[in-house]
Symmetry: C2
DNA sequence: CAGCTTGTACGATGATCGTCGTACAAGGGT
DNA sequence: ACCCTTGTACGACGATCATCGTACAAGCTG
């Protein structure tokens, strides 16, 4: 893409609690983080989440997560590989990520998530070639 | 006050993660929660925090915390006694409150807090009888 | 009772947020 | 070379938010 340098990430010691909590308080972003945490180590492209929003909104949410220091983005080809900054988060806010994730599992995030990805799979099967559209459209 | 019944509180099982995270993502509210957690068991009136905002804003923040299920409010005389719903929070989101509070200590909340209360003390000493005014006014 | 204190209710206002559409850039296929 | 896929940038729109001022209610206390 056309960002002159690499992508801006906050330093590990500069992570702000308020920003992280705010980033995690949105259902879509929580969904992203949950999925990212499910299979750690592996890299996920932005499009590999079955998010019920458009590309623009997707970019926005990933930006919020990145600028809060929750995720790390690394460009590769036309895509961006996303990874959870688990070590940095654990160092600065010990235990926070884990209990938020555990709380998210107990609650609704995973349910919504599996629903969404199921729907997106169906949609892809019905209309192959439609890469966009907010899950149900 | 003129609320017909007692004050509305969400049930312990109905606490929503998003709402709690959002409630905790504001610096003023985090300050409230931090102070409330410092001396648990004791009740704090809304005015006993050295908050850098007006009464109206104060009411608003306490309402947000209450409706998110973070605090419990009990009317007594002309005031309201606030208490942290630690048990309910711990039951629904185990560990969350503790690590947020610990992270808040490490960060800035306590510093801002002591500063603010210091200022309010000075202000009170200089102009006794001025109960309102956002810390510096 | 009159006044003071504590907090609520009800706008109003400016800022931020989540969402979208359109246009565009960059890289990988054929 | 051409398109297609992936993602960004920018502008717009409605909703929510944090803040405030003013007015008022409820309970103490002189």
């Amino acid at each position: 893409m056309h960002t002159t340098e690499s992508i801006v990430h906050p330093a590990a010691e500069e992570l702000e609690l308020g920003a992280v909590l705010h980033a995690l308080s949105d259902p879509v972003r929580l969904q992203i983080v949950a999925k990212l945490a499910q299979s750690d180590e592996a890299d996920h492209t932005c499009g590999s989440f079955g998010l019920p929003v458009t590309k623009s909104t997707c970019t926005h949410h990933f930006k919020v997560l990145r600028e809060a220091g929750v995720i790390q983005q690394r460009p590769q080809g036309t895509t961006r590989l996303n990874r959870l900054r688990r070590a940095d988060l654990d160092a600065r806010f010990p235990g926070l990520l884990d209990c938020v994730l555990k709380a998210a599992e107990h609650a609704d995030v995973i349910a919504v998530d599996s629903e969404a990805s199921l729907e997106s799979v169906v949609a892809a099967a019905v209309a192959p070639g439609t890469a966009d559209s907010p899950a149900v459209a």
